[in-house]
Structures are given as C-alpha cells and as structure tokens.
Amino acid sequence: MIREVKDTEQKQILVVDDEEEILCLLKEVFESADYGVWTADNAEDALNILKTNILKVIFLDLNLPGMSGLELCKKIREKDQIAIIHALTGYSNFFGLLECRAAGFDDFFTKPVPIDIILKAAEEAFEKLARWKMD
C-alpha cells in the first residue's frame, strides 16, 4: 500500500551506510533540502525502521557488515515493490551493476557522488512517487 504524502508533510528518506561520517554527511545534505532523514549503520536496523515507518526513498551502501546491501535490497523488495532504492557503493563494475539491478535497485552510484546529484536523485524519486499516485 502506498501512503499518500501530503504536500505539507515532510518527505522522508532512509540512508543506510556503515560509516558514521557518510551517514552524517548525507543526513546534513538531505536535511539541507528539507527532507526528513532516517539513518542506520546496518541492514537489521534498517529493516526495523521500515517495519514501523513507511519510507519510499532509500539510499543503501552495498558493503554493509552482516547482511549486505544487495541482500537488504532483496528483503525490502519482498514487501515493497514501489519504493525507489538507490545503491551507493565505494567500488563496483559492470557486473556489480548487473547484480544491483537483479537485486531490485532502481539506481546505482559510485562514491564519491557530488551532492547535487544525490539531491537530484532524491527529488526525481519523489516526483515519480507523486506521479504514480496520480495514476
């Protein structure tokens, strides 16, 4: 079920990365654009957040301790085929891209990513969600 987001309601983003500095940075970047930000430094915490919150725009690091970003994406996709999930990775190649697409990621970024591009990705994701709800 897709929760309707009212214009007045703050748009929420989930960021998952095992590096605290990255989480702080992205939180600051998204908050600077008036997004509400949820952060988790591992897959299990991320799944717990998603159990109690409806978050449709997600940024996942691939290299997480324990359950990897790929596995986490698959888990999220089991219950949510609408969410727009972005991969953020320190290293990848063409085969990594294929793996990500197969796991259910919508987009794929290799660090370092300029903040304008990150913000644009978030903005476009919310635009898509808004358009889908219109349909």
């Binding site: 590096e19 940075l25 290299n63 320190g90 660090k111 370092p112 990513v113 903040i115």
Partner: protein
C-alpha cells in the same frame, strides 16, 4: 674266439661264403636302414619294403607287398605313375617333398629320393623316404617365429612413426645418433636433418646452458653408489622450430651405458608441451589480473569512502560560502583535487588488462594510463 683285428683281416671264409655274407649284410643294412626304402615295379606295385617303411606306415610287410604306391601316396594317381616312371628313366634320380598315408589314415611329410634300375629287363623303382615331419615342424615354428618377429617389427615401426612424441639418442658430444619421425611434425626438421646438427643448435642458449648445468650435476651424482644408474630426469627445453619460432618440449632423459656401466650417450622421449606452457602462462596472468582487480577494488573502496566525505563536506561549505569570500577559491581547489583522485579510482575500477611501467628505475608499477592495453597487457 676271434679277436676284432683278426676278423677285420679275414671276415669271411671262402668266396661263396663271402658273397652270401655280403648279400646278407646288404639285405640287413637295407632292412634296418633308418629311412624307409620302398621298391616298386613299373606299374607302381610294391615289391620290397624295409622295416622302417613298415613302422612308419603302420602296415605289415605282407600287407605292403600286396599294395601299390598310390595306396600310400595320397597325391599320386595310378594313371600318372607310368609318366612319372618315364621321367625317372630320363632324369635318373630325383628328390622331392611328398606325403605318405599310414594305415590309420594319418598323413606325414617325407622327402623322397627316387632312383631306378633295370634287372633282367625288369624296371625297379626305388624310393628312399625320409620322415621330415620334425623338420617341417621346426621350419613351421621358425616361420611362425619369423612372422611374429616381422609383425612385432611392423608394430614397433608403426608405433614409432605414429607416436607424437619424439624418440632420440645423443652421443656424449651432444650429437644426435637417432631421431624418430615425429621430429618433423613437432619442430619441422626431418630425422636426417637432425642428425647433421648438434644439440647446441637445436635449443635456445638459455636452455642449453641450463641443460649443461643439469648434466654436470647428474655426472657428479655418478660418484654416489646410492644413485640408481637407470634413473631418468625430466627437463623442459625450448627448441627452435625450422620456421624460426620456438616450441617447448618436455624431455624424459636416461643414460645409455656401455658394458662397463660408463655413460656412452643419452636417450630420451620429447613431448611438445607448448600449448600446456601457454595455458599455464595465461592462467598465471589471469590470476595476476584477478589479484590486481581485487587490490584495485580494495583501493577504490577504501579511497572512495573518505573522498565522498571530503567532497560532500566541501560542497556543503561551498554552498554556504560567498563567491567573493577568499575561502571559496580554496574550497574549489580542494574539490578539484578530489575530482582528480576520483579519476584515478575510476580508472582502477575499469581495469580489464594492465601494463607495467618502470618506476624510478628500481621497480615496476601498473601504468594506470594504459589499462586497456590488450595485445601485451599483463605480459
């Protein structure tokens, strides 16, 4: 009693007795002769047989004297006998191989010498039969043995010609004394061409030097009684092909020794392992590339994480800094350096092949500006 010498001087009493004794002895000699003797008349009727003829044919003397030659000779027809007798008269004597048939039907080979005489106008043909079954058997066995040997030789030659490995022998001057046909297929040189060469011309200088070292070590081991004289060594050698390129052959080499046990030469079998060597080299380079890719992945991951933080923070600061602020340009320079570092990690992430370059004259490093070189990449 007369002694032997006295009997030799005067064996017989008077002339008549002498004739009687001579006839008796002649009869006795014929009767007891080891070969069969058969007399026949011009119709082929048997008129005399000796003991050996009776024994070998299995008939009694009386039985044989009532028979004709065709009864004991399976290859002789009664109607051709007359012609044969005419021939015998013309030739006088004749020797040939034939067969005899015994009373129980068994056939055995004989060598027959025939002769004839005429006595009181009557033709008498004489046949001396020698049983040659044992000789024939021996001949047959010898022929079989020869045939087996011929077959064995043919098999050996076939194997030598068909086998892809080259068999060779060398004297102690490193000159070939034998090279099998496979040499032509492997290295282009015929065995005849090979026999005109010295080993030093056949292999690369590095291989020859290594071979000489190995041989010197092996010769030194000869002093040690614990070392087996029939030991073999396996050595990989790089040979020149007739067309100029080289091929790798694995040689299993053993010493040829004279009767005193001294090494008189070497013999060996060479197998072309060029394809295997190339596969090994490719595998080595694939594994090396795999290692480089993994290392590149680690470097990218470890570098990109802090670069993300630095880039992100720099861009946040730039957003908050007025362009006329002196710090703005400094932040731009920081961002530019991060982008430069990012270009390096981007290159590392796109490695498919690699090429090394000399670094400061003391080591080799990967040339990150030539990561897509494929012709010599990684070699």
């Amino acid at each position: 009693m007369d002694g032997p010498s006295k009997r030799r001087q005067k064996p017989f009493g008077n002339t008549l007795k002498l004739v009687e004794d001579t006839l008796y002895l002649t009869q006795l000699v014929m009767d007891r002769a080891p070969d069969s003797i058969i007399w026949m008349d011009d119709q082929g009727a048997i008129v005399y047989v000796n003991d050996a003829a009776c024994t070998s044919l299995g008939y009694t003397r009386d039985e044989l004297l009532s028979m004709t030659l065709s009864d004991i000779d399976p290859d002789r027809e009664r109607d051709t006998f007359e012609n044969e007798m005419k021939n015998l008269r013309r030739l006088g004597s004749k020797t040939f191989d034939a067969r005899r048939r015994t009373k129980d039907g068994r056939l055995f080979p004989v060598e027959i010498t025939t002769n004839y005489f005429e006595y009181k106008g009557r033709f008498i043909g004489i046949s001396f039969d020698r049983d040659i079954a044992a000789r024939k058997r021996a001949e047959s066995e010898r022929e079989s043995a020869l045939e087996a040997l011929r077959e064995s030789e043919e098999k050996y030659r076939f194997l030598m010609e068909q086998m892809s490995d080259t068999v060779w022998t060398l004297d102690m001057n490193m000159r070939p004394t034998y090279v099998s046909q496979a040499s032509t297929d492997t290295l282009g040189f015929t065995p005849e061409e090979r026999l005109q060469q010295n080993l030093s011309e056949m292999v690369t200088p590095e291989t020859y030097k290594r071979l000489m070292t190995v041989l010197a070590q092996e010769l030194e081991k000869e002093q040690d009684p614990a070392v087996k004289p029939n030991r073999s060594i396996v050595i990989e050698m790089e040979y020149y092909h007739k067309k100029g390129h080289t091929r790798w052959l694995e040689n299993r080499v053993r010493a040829i020794r004279d009767t005193n046990g001294t090494i008189a030469g070497l013999h060996g079998v060479s197998r072309d392992i060029t394809d295997r060597k190339e596969a090994e080299r490719d595998k080595y380079h694939r594994e090396k590339l795999q290692g480089i890719l993994e290392m590149a992945g680690t470097v990218c991951h470890e570098m990109n994480q802090p670069m993300q933080i630095i880039l992100g923070l720099t861009e946040l600061l730039l957003k908050k800094t007025a362009q006329d602020n002196p710090d703005y340009q400094k932040l731009c320079r920081v961002k530019k350096q991060i982008q430069r570092m990012n270009e390096i990690t981007d290159k590392l992430m796109s490695i498919q092949h690699y090429k090394t370059e000399d670094y400061a004259g003391f080591t080799q490093i990967i040339d990150i500006n030539d990561l897509h070189a494929d012709a010599d990449g990684g070699k």
